[in-house]
């Protein structure tokens, strides 16, 4: 990650304050400057940042931060709360028309990921809501765009409605609706060509498609890596079409995704889904508070603790804490934790929530992608019971066997073993650090 997270940014200011023992208005101002930089580096639009800082400053200068013993933590908490609120609650509902079919129109810039997202959405509707969607190929401009949707349809085993690239999108939409009614499709997903928000002709065409199809949802598909221009793009599309929701794509990348905030601020439309990969099941409901910590390039331990407490069986957690403290944590515990952690959110994000995690050698370099996670799981599952409990007995020949059994390499096994050792050490630190301060603190992490 190229950027410093907010927590790191605030560290210097915090050190200064700690020396003085008291927070002044000037200190708060300085902290706000860091917040501002963190947001700008995350691609949040300049004007949006300005408004946001104004709002947060007011709160911060008030009692909350200045009277706090941990002003840095408080600032982070306030910022995150405001960010999360700005991004709205979780709202991955999709409209259902009283008179089926329900029509969804997909719109956005070139290369945003509309066609793939159309496929994913269809898959989602079928899987989660038991629907029978019809895909409509109305991108008649980009070479082979129709072919792309048809291929996705084939992969999904879903019909794709197309009239080739010589018929206007308006006509395609009309005929598709007729077809859907006759064939009893309850959803119609119209994929349209990418277009610039300033292209009057093509924006007009989109309006006509809207008029003809009378959609129940108009989703704006936006690349999560979009920079400052996200505001202009989202605003134009919204002004022209009246979008009902946003889908953020390519969030499996390493972008901070500040565009999410800009788009929200510019349109007020809810961000409903996030694209998390190229596969057709990689569409997830959008989580505002996860996005907030992602934008800030950090997480706060408070949320982590809250999440942990929600997710964990208290009795088990107590045992776990004991294990962490005495370093008798095993690979079996690890596997169990992995499951729970997975339910809590992306792992790298969780790691970044750990205070000082950035300074732990080895930990910093953990690359967390799903594939690697499943490798880790496979490796652990290839261990014997004894090995899981006493990893120190895993010698060279055992490593070879485990690598073979899990379809990974000895290097990968080595790496995991080393990381596991480091984690154990860190857990011990964590537990001793929080002990006493926060009674009953459970850290069900790794």
């Amino acid at each position: 990650m190229a950027f410093e997270g907010l927590a790191n940014r605030l560290q210097n200011t915090m050190a200064k304050i700690r020396g003085k023992g008291k927070v002044s208005e000037a200190d708060v101002k300085e902290m706000m400057r860091e917040v501002r930089l963190a947001l700008l580096e995350a691609d949040v639009n300049y004007k949006v940042v300005k408004d946001f800082i104004k709002k947060v400053s007011e709160r911060a200068v008030g009692q909350e931060v200045m009277k706090s013993l941990t002003p840095g933590q408080q600032v982070i908490k306030v910022v995150k709360e405001e960010l999360t609120e700005l991004m709205g609650g979780e709202q991955s509902k999709i409209a259902v028309s009283k008179r089926p079919p329900t029509v969804i129109l997909m719109a956005g810039l070139q290369g945003a990921g509309k066609t793939t997202t159309t496929g994913k959405l269809a898959n989602y509707l079928r899987k989660k809501h038991n629907r029978n969607p019809l895909l409509v190929a109305a991108d008649i401009y980009r070479p082979a765009a129709i072919k792309q949707l048809e291929t996705l349809g084939k992969q999904l085993g879903m019909p794709v409605f197309s009239l080739g690239d010589k018929v206007s999108p308006v006509e395609i939409a009309k005929q598709a609706l007729e077809y859907a009614k006759n064939e009893h499709h309850d959803y119609v997903l119209i994929d349209t060509a990418g277009r610039l928000h300033i292209d009057e002709n093509l924006m007009d065409e989109l309006k006509q498609v809207k008029e003809a199809a009378n959609p129940d949802e108009i989703f704006l598909v936006v690349d999560a890596m979009t920079g400052q221009d996200a505001v202009n793009v989202a605003k134009s599309f919204h002004d022209e079409l009246g979008i009902t929701g946003v889908i953020l794509t390519k969030l499996d990348g390493d972008t901070r995704g500040g565009a999410a905030l800009s788009i929200r601020a510019a349109t007020g439309a809810p961000i409903k889904f996030a694209g998390m990969g190229e596969k057709l099941d990689a569409l997830e409901p959008f989580h505002p508070e996860r996005m907030a910590s992602r934008i800030l390039g950090m997480g706060d331990v408070l949320t982590l603790i809250e999440k942990a407490q929600e997710n964990v069986d208290q009795e088990k957690a107590k045992q776990l804490e004991e294990k962490m403290r005495t370093m008798s944590f095993t690979f079996d515990d690890f596997l169990e934790q992995l499951e729970q952690v997975r339910n809590m959110g992306p792992l790298d994000e969780l790691i970044s929530m750990l205070p000082g995690a950035g300074k732990m050698k080895g930990l910093k370099n953990i690359q967390v992608d799903e594939k690697q996670l499943s490798h880790v799981e496979a490796i652990i599952r290839s261990m014997t019971k004894e090995e899981k409990e006493k990893p120190e007995i895993i010698n060279a020949s055992r490593r070879k066997r485990i690598a073979k059994g899990s379809g990974t390499s000895v290097q990968e096994v080595n790496r995991l073993l080393k990381q596991f050792e480091e984690m154990k050490k860190m857990m011990k630190q964590m537990t001793s650090m929080t002990k006493g301060k926060r009674k009953g603190f459970k850290f069900p992490f790794m």
Binding site: G111, Y141, I146, G227, Q228, K250, R256
Partner: protein, 327 residues
């Protein structure tokens, strides 16, 4: 001679059509950027803190990136002090000067494509999903053909649905052949085939498409490394260009893209696409500054001839056309 006069003179020697095209393509970018700059300059009586704050806004809104902007403004402040500049108008020139300076870099690394007569030239295209790799290949193939070169395309995106067909449509449009295998096959094998075909047909340039991939996916980056290794093994000195395609709409993540793709494939240049929109792609400044990767091509639309060679002076001319004309 003033900076703008010099610039104007240089540019007037170039083909008018090219400059006009640049101006036209960058119309949106230019007008909003120049407008805000002009407006800023006319609104302020003196060069003060507030002035710089607004300048900061203009630059950050162009996606130039916080750090670069801070550095730039620091330098400007020094310059203003040194030259004892009072008038905001005079700062305009200093700003453009600095921008061109950053774009061109100290060593003035070549922004021309490394394509030479008398050998098989191989250009590898890399980048994240949807930035415009395939389209840029189509456009570049057209351009090269116009210059009288023989061109062959390699359908190295075997992953995305319809990607091979998309390149084939471009091949038909432009009138060049496409070497392909079936969807899902090994991209390195496709490129290998294409090199053999290019050799036996004695073509001048082979343009290799690849699937879009996010730079944080290790396994996909490894795949790209393999493609490049195959090229290196087959033709010593190749690939002659590895072009990273960047979408001008992208924000600060473009830096991470440049860094990671460079690490995997040693990128030699950037093709900056979608500059016909309102985004400014200012991050290329920071990329040039930090990684010394020059922009070599610019995409200004979806049509066959919406591609231009990048020229820092022309680019700045596009951004500041009004000011230059005034000079």
């Amino acid at each position: 001679m003033s900076f703008f006069k010099k610039l104007k003179e240089k540019i007037s020697k170039q083909k008018d059509s090219v400059t006009a095209k640049f101006k036209e393509g960058l119309e949106k970018t230019r007008s909003s950027f120049t407008e805000s700059l002009n407006e800023l300059v006319s609104r302020y009586r003196k060069v003060d803190e507030e002035f710089f704050e607004e300048l900061e806004e203009i630059l950050i809104t162009a996606d130039v990136g916080v750090q670069t902007v801070m550095d730039l403004i620091d330098e400007l402040k020094k310059e203003v002090k040194r030259r004892n500049i009072q008038e905001p108008k005079e700062v305009r020139a200093a700003i453009s000067e600095k921008l061109v300076e950053i774009y061109q870099g100290e060593d003035g690394a070549p922004t021309d494509l490394n394509i030479e007569d008398g050998r098989l030239n191989i250009v590898l295209f890399v980048g994240v999903n949807g930035v415009g790799k395939t389209t840029t290949i189509g456009k570049l193939a057209h351009r090269l053909k116009e210059e009288g070169k023989s061109v062959l395309l390699a359908a190295g995106d075997t992953f995305r649905a319809g990607a091979i067909e998309q390149l084939e449509v471009w091949g038909d449009r432009v009138g060049v052949d496409v070497i392909k295998q079936s969807a899902g096959s090994d991209p390195a094998a496709v490129v290998y085939d294409a090199i053999q075909a290019a050799r036996s047909r004695k073509v001048d340039v082979l343009l290799c498409d690849t699937a879009g991939r996010l730079q944080n996916k290790m396994n996909l980056m490894k795949e790209l490394e393999k493609v490049k290794r195959v090229i290196e093994r087959e033709i010593p000195g190749a690939p002659h260009e590895v072009l990273l395609v960047l979408d001008a709409t992208t924000g600060q993540n473009a830096m991470s893209q440049a860094r990671q793709f460079s690490e995997a494939t040693n990128v030699t240049g950037i093709a900056l696409t979608k500059l016909d929109g309102t985004a400014k792609g200012g991050i290329v400044l920071a990329i040039r500054n930090e990684l010394n990767i020059p922009v070599k091509l610019v995409g200004l639309g979806e049509k066959m001839d919406d591609l231009e060679k990048f020229d820092a002076e022309k680019y700045v001319y596009g951004l500041f056309a009004d000011l230059v004309d005034e000079a």
